[in-house]
Every structure is written in structure tokens, then in C-alpha cells.
Amino acid sequence: MRSLERMSWPWRLERRVKPSATMRLASSPIAIGAMLVTGFVALRAIGINPVAAFRVFFIEPVSSLYGIGELLLKATPLMLCALGLAPGYRANVWNIGSEGQFTIGAIAGGGVGLYLGPAIGRWAVPAILVAGVLGGAAWAAIPAYLRARFRASEIFVSLMLVYIAQLLLSYMVHGPWRDPAGQNFPQSPPLPDNAVLNPLFEGMRVNIGFLLGLVLAGLSWWFGRATAAGFRMRVGGLAPAAAAYAGISERANLWLAMLIGGGAAGLAGICEVAGPIGQLQPSISPGYGFAAIIVAFVGRLHPFGIVLASLLMSALYLGGESAQVELQISASVTGLFQGMLLFFLLAAELLIHYRVLRVSPMTRVGGPA
């Protein structure tokens, strides 16, 4: 014991009197920096030249106009899902099932597009978007109801519903909605022309979904700052006892958080299906709904932070793909970078509330008697 004390670490963590505003801004860049350094070491360890790899990973994908369009395109579902999750996370409502709500949004919007699209002309695009939002919100309503009624954990229920949603999609495209002209591939017919989201610009694939994301970010910022409902959700997350004292309904917060999260994820789902994919198929997402959880935290649950974080995460996806093609590295390298980013982010968060303190030599002079 004594020898252990003598060797004791000369650094201590001490709680700051006030959270540091500098660190609040700096913690995300610190985490990104740590991710790059660790990635550098990891790549070198597996025998890849890190400098070249970083070039392939981070620079090449966005060195063309098409590449930038792809960056925005991939950022769209991440941004939408994360913007939907953030108010809930601030209110202590832990919706982990964004991926499932994304899938149901895609099914609902896709179904409306496939079966009503031809009949409703130019109303088809608004109709599929609304159907996507409603579909996602309905799927999120299930865990909300079960938590409100039976105190079932929304974390587990929403997560399990992801797999149900994916199986439902698989059933639809293998069964009732399978394209008769699709040579038996499990996929729906292509969405009719009036029910697809066209690219915003020539030579890029990014569509109106990205703009909707930016609008949602602005709305979300206004909601959190100006509205009483946003205020109540913040109080519910920061201090549940104060919320009870003030008479803020935990249930109202729960429902609102889940419906916002589900609706936004559903919108992301339909934007994906009616945009770059163009039809329903068994796999419509490389895990956007789960990555959005990371995006929400990297963006520090702030709408504008989330916009930036979704671009960063999108760059990681693109980099992973490009590294896979050019360097024959496994696609799981993307997951590695995402995981490291979240890990470092949570660690860097400590610095906001604590400072690192060197145990001053003056108190060490005496030593144990």
C-alpha cells in the first residue's frame, strides 16, 4: 500500500467551480484530434502508410463537385435523425431506435409513393414526405406508450423495434410489394417519377432532404430557445426533481421527444428511399439511425453542432468507402473511426467540468512520517 502511494500519479482531477466555456467549445476538436492521432498509430500498426491513407480517407472523396454532393447527401439522413434525437436526449428520453423509425418512414412514404403516387400528380412529393414523418412518429409512439403506460424502458423497446422494422421491410419487398418485373430480386418497383426527390444541382445527387435538414436545425434551435415546450424538455433533462416541483409533465416531455425523434427519422428514411435509392429494398441504410446517436453527441446536442457533426460523420463514411476501394482496407475501418470519435468525445467531456491538477510539490515535501 505504502509503495503504491509513493508511486502515486502526480495528477489529480478537481471539479471546476464553473464548467469551462473554452472546454465546451474545445472538447469536440480535442476528440477529433485524438481520433486522428490514434488512427494514425493504428494504421501504421497494420502496415499502411498513414499519410497516404488519410489522403484517401479524408481528402480524395471531397476533391470533386460530385464528391461534395455525396458528402451532403450522406450527411442528410444523419443530420435529420440526429436533430430529431437531440431534444429527447436533452430531456432524458433515450430513443435508440432511430434506425427503425427511419425504416418505417421509408416503408410508409414508399408505400404512398408506389400505390397513390401516380394518382395524385404533383402532390405526390409532399404526400410521401408527410407519410414518412407519420410512419416514423407512429413507430416511435410504441415505445413512448409502453414507457408511459407500463414504465417499459424506451431504450430497449425502441432498439428491439429496429429489428422488427427491418424484418417488416424485408417481408414487404420479398412478398407483397416485390417488383413483378424485378427478375425475382427482393425489391419493390421503382417509385413513380412524380414521387421521387430530384437532385438539387446537375452533377450531384444531393436532394431537398438536405435543405429540409437545415430548416429543421433552425426550427430546432428556435424550439429549444423560445418555446415553453422546449424549456420544459430542457428542465426535464437537467433536473427531473425541479421539473416535478414546477409541475412539468414527464409524460408530455416523453411523448413530444419520441414523436419528434420518430418523425425526423421517418423523414430521413423517405428522403433516402425517394432520393438516391429510388425504390424499397431489404437494406436501405448502412446504420444511419445508429450513427446519428454519435452525431447528436459529437454536435453536443446543439442543432448547429449537429449540422457540422453530420458532415464530419458523412466524411468518415465516404472515406471508409474510398479506403475500401483504393487501399483494400476492410469497411469496418469506418466503424473504428466512429467508435474512437465517440469514445474520445465522452472522455474529453470530462474536461468541461474538471480540471487536471498537479499535486503541488509543496504538499509532498513532508511525506508520510
Binding site: 502511494e5 467551480v17 415553453a228 428542465v235 416541483y245 515535501v365
Partner: protein
């Protein structure tokens, strides 16, 4: 002081500790002799807790030296402090409700002793020092006073040579305080040094041999408390004269808050069931509810504020309306305002600024309109509260947790008063609040009473209740005693009632005495 021929058990020289924005300790010297009961006296924020954390090894000092029995030491951890022979009883006990006394103590000891061997040692120590404790009882069935005995026994098992007690009497009945003092005197007579942290002047004068008084992180004086007066000690502590509050005779008005046979089943483990409470509070009077926390205080607050709304039997009437099932928001609209016991985390959101903390309970009073937060009005309201109650802070945009306990309490009391209540419910109004702020809060409650508001105060501090209440009742084990005019009541009677020794009263007898 305790210099002289005997080597001091503990000597601090020039201890300083600075946090980012405050100097908690500034060159503090302190010496405790063997067998001495040494008071550490000071207001909240004077630096007592920081100093004790340094002695107990929980925080390193920035400068200064510590001598233990004449030899310099560096205390790096509480475990090392315990090995040296320093033991501490914290103000808030760290005990597990679902475990027995033996299990709790064996968890807290540094050495591993199995329960069979430990129980007889606990019994021996408790018999030796008059601290009756049954080693096999479960914690949740024990009162706060009994729990404190468990903590003291835990410390004594380690045969300490210095015992630190942090505000030990804040939760005890007057009788339990006397029992504790006897034990402490016996321990001191055997050579144990005791550091006794408190701000209760009467107790320090009765118990302690020497007092070191802290003010703003410095030693403002040392004294022999037996030869000092409360006023002279208070001057050292506060640095100025104290004003007493006065309660002038006053005719109360109509009943604003009434409990009729209010019962509430217990829903939480280790909660208290409320059994047939009867009470009337009129406009223009202050009614106090004495008693030790854990006797239904939490449940009574929740059922009065509306956080628990379902009242199966009996009822609550608020300004003449049945209110048992109204939400907190609806009750606020009827004019009930509530200052809860926990100020940080319940009465205020720690991470939000003071203006937003006004919106917390001001949504029904114009700080939210058409679903939108009225930021400008909230800031103006917060500024007015800060000015009126002399709250020390960095303006209305300072986060609530940057305020000291006393200032935050002034702010919360001020906020609720600012919303013009018809009935004000205040729990532990001055718990952990320094003398200056306490006086101000008490005076503002009296002013409110004189303006015709019905005020109900739930408190553990008997002195306070006797100072400001027109009438007083005791809540013990979920039952409420009759309400008696304070002038005709002896503190000893209240102390007896706090142990539950009063007969149940019928609703008719609950009618207040003070009103013709």
C-alpha cells in the same frame, strides 16, 4: 490556545486552498490538543468544509503544512487519514438502508472483519460509550439519531485519536443532543480529540473547550466559548452586530389552507405513511411544523405542493376549494407557492441561469405567453428579485449553481414571494444558510405574514420555529400533533412530541386556538 507543554495532536500551519474563483482557505493555523473538544465555527462558505476535507485527505492543500502528534505528514487519502487515527462523521451519512448495522460498518472499515467477529465488538463499543446500537438491525428502521450513533460507533471501532463531527446536531431532538454531548465528553475525558464543526452558538458554548472561528477563509479569532456570549461569538463569525427579528401581535384572517383527516399511503420503500393529518393555516399567520426529516416531511411537502396528487382519504382545501387532486400548476394558479427543502436540483435547475429559473415556476405568472418564453420579462423579474433580496451573484444570467447556498435560498424565497402568493409553504427555510441570510429570510416571511399571507413553515430548527411562528405543531412518524400557540409552548414539550409522544387528536380538536 492549546500551545503549551503538551504536543498538539493536530497542528495546521498556513493551510491555503484556492479554487478557480474563490480562496476557500487562506493561511489557516489551528492546533488541537489531546482530549480537547475544539469547535470550528463559521458561517456557510467560511471554509470549514474545505479545511476538514484537507485534514481528512480528500483534497490536497495548495500551501501549508500539517503536523500529526508533532511529526509533519502529508495526508493523501481518507484511507491514510484513518490509518493515522483521524475519523470523521459526515453531516450526510453514507449508509445503506437495506443492510444491517454490522453489514454497513464492515463495508466502511478498511480491514476485512467478518460479521460474526464484528457484532460483539460493535456491542462492546456501544455499551462502553452509552451509544445503544443493535448490530443486527436494518438501517431503514432506524431514526436519524440512531444512524448517527452507527456512524460514531463505526469511527470508534478504528480507535481514532481525532474525531471530526460535521454539524452533528442538525438532525437531533434536544434530548438526543444532550445524550450525544455526554458521549462526547466521556470520549474527550479518555483523551480523544474532537473537532466539532457547527454554527450553533449555544451548543458550542455548552460543549467545547476552545473555538476557532473562520470568516471568509481566514481565522477571525479564537476563543474560550464558555466565557463568551452568543453575541460576542457571532461578532467574530459575522464581523458585525446581529439584528433579531420580531413578531408583533397580529389578527389572522380567513383559513387559506386546511388539511382534513389527510392520509397518504406509503408508496416508496422506507417512506412514511401520513395518518389523519388535521391543520388550518389562516391568512396573516405563520404556522410551523416541527419534527425531524423522515417522519413524513417529504410526503407532506409532496402532497401539499401537488407533486403527489391522489388523496384517497381526507382532503386538502386551498383558499376554500378542494385541492387534493389539483396539479402543482393548478395550485399555483390558486395562489399556493412553495419553497422546497432541496434548493439545488429541485427549487432551482443548477445548470440554468437565474432568469430561466424564474421561468421554472413563473410560467403561470406571465413569464410564458402563447407558448413562448418571455425572456425579457424573466430577466427583469430576476433582476428585481436579486436587488430586493440582496442576492450576491454575477447578475441574472449567472447559473444557479454558481451561487452559495444562502444566496440561492434568498433568490428562491424571493422568487416565490415575488409571484405574490396567497399561501406560502416553506420547507427548511434556513437550512445551511448563514446567519445574515437567515435573518433576512425570516424577516421576509414575517413581512409576508403581516401583509396577510398564510405561511406554513416545515423545519427541523426549533430555534427558528420559536422565533417566527404564531402556532406550532409537530409531525412525528406520519402523525401531526395539535397546533399550539408558540408563546404557550415549552421547547421540551416539542422535543418530547418529536419522539411521537402525543395523543392523536380528533378533527374537531384540531381547530386552532389562536382564533376567537
Amino acid at each position: 490556545m492549546s500551545d503549551g507543554s503538551v504536543t498538539a495532536r493536530l497542528r495546521l500551519r498556513g493551510i491555503s486552498k484556492r479554487y478557480a474563483s474563490v480562496i476557500a482557505n487562506d493561511g489557516i493555523d489551528l492546533a488541537v490538543a489531546p482530549g480537547e473538544i475544539h469547535a470550528l465555527l463559521g458561517e456557510n462558505g467560511a471554509g470549514k468544509s474545505t479545511l476538514m476535507k484537507i485534514v481528512y485527505g480528500a483534497t490536497p492543500p495548495d500551501a501549508g503544512s500539517i503536523e500529526w502528534e508533532g511529526a509533519p505528514v502529508t495526508i493523501r487519502s481518507p484511507a491514510q487519514a484513518r490509518r493515522l487515527g483521524i475519523a470523521m462523521v459526515f453531516q450526510h451519512f453514507a449508509l445503506f438502508e437495506t443492510l444491517t448495522v454490522v453489514e454497513n460498518i464492515s463495508l466502511a472499515l478498511d480491514e476485512r472483519i467478518d460479521a460474526a467477529a464484528l457484532a460483539p465488538r460493535i456491542a462492546a463499543v456501544s455499551a462502553q460509550y452509552g451509544l445503544p446500537v443493535d448490530p443486527h438491525r436494518l438501517l431503514h428502521s432506524m431514526s436519524v439519531g440512531e444512524r448517527q450513533r452507527v456512524e460514531i460507533v463505526r469511527c470508534l471501532l478504528q480507535s481514532p485519536r481525532l474525531l471530526i463531527l460535521d454539524e452533528p446536531t442538525s438532525v437531533l431532538t434536544p434530548q438526543a443532543v444532550q445524550a450525544l454531548f455526554q458521549t462526547l465528553r466521556r470520549l474527550a475525558a479518555e483523551g480523544l480529540s474532537i473537532l466539532y464543526i457547527s454554527h450553533k452558538l449555544d451548543e458550542i458554548r455548552e460543549l467545547c473547550d476552545v473555538a476557532t472561528v473562520l470568516r471568509n477563509g481566514r481565522v477571525s479569532g479564537t476563543a474560550i466559548p464558555r466565557v463568551e456570549s452568543n453575541a460576542s461569538l457571532a461578532r467574530l463569525m459575522v464581523g458585525g452586530e446581529l439584528r433579531e427579528c420580531t413578531l408583533e401581535a397580529h389578527q389572522p384572517a380567513e383559513v387559506r389552507l386546511e388539511l382534513i383527516e389527510l392520509s397518504l399511503p406509503c408508496t416508496e420503500p422506507f417512506g412514511t405513511e401520513l395518518r389523519g393529518l388535521n391543520l388550518k393555516v389562516r391568512g396573516g399567520e405563520i404556522v410551523g411544523i416541527a419534527g425531524i426529516s423522515g417522519n413524513g416531511q417529504k410526503e407532506l411537502q409532496a402532497v401539499l405542493s401537488g407533486e403527489r396528487s391522489v388523496v384517497p382519504r381526507g382532503s386538502i382545501r386551498l383558499c376554500g376549494l378542494e385541492a387534493g387532486r389539483l396539479s402543482p400548476v393548478q395550485r399555483r394558479q390558486l395562489g399556493l407557492r412553495f419553497v422546497p427543502e432541496e434548493r439545488l436540483g429541485r427549487g432551482a435547475v443548477p445548470d440554468m441561469d437565474l432568469a430561466d429559473n424564474c421561468v421554472l415556476t413563473g410560467a403561470q405568472s406571465g413569464l410564458v405567453r402563447r407558448g413562448l418564453v418571455q425572456h425579457r420579462a424573466a430577466r427583469a423579474f430576476a433582476r428585481a428579485t436579486i436587488a430586493r433580496f440582496n442576492v450576491k451573484c454575477d447578475g441574472e444570467l449567472a447559473p444557479a449553481d454558481s451561487l452559495s447556498g444562502g444566496n440561492l435560498q434568498k433568490f428562491i424565497v424571493g422568487r416565490e414571494i415575488g409571484f405574490n402568493p396567497r399561501v406560502l409553504l416553506v420547507a427548511q427555510p434556513t437550512w445551511g444558510v448563514d446567519i445574515g441570510a437567515s435573518l433576512m429570510i425570516r424577516q421576509s416571511l414575517i413581512d409576508l405574514r403581516n401583509a396577510g399571507v398564510a405561511v406554513l413553515v416545515i423545519s427541523e430548527e426549533l430555534d427558528e420555529l420559536f422565533a417566527i411562528c404564531d402556532r406550532l405543531a409537530v409531525l412525528a412518524a406520519g402523525r401531526l400533533s395539535e397546533t399550539v400557540p408558540t408563546a404557550t409552548l415549552a421547547p421540551e414539550t416539542v422535543g418530547l412530541w418529536m419522539t411521537g409522544a402525543f395523543s392523536a387528536i380528533a378533527p374537531a380538536a384540531a381547530a386552532d386556538h389562536a382564533v376567537p
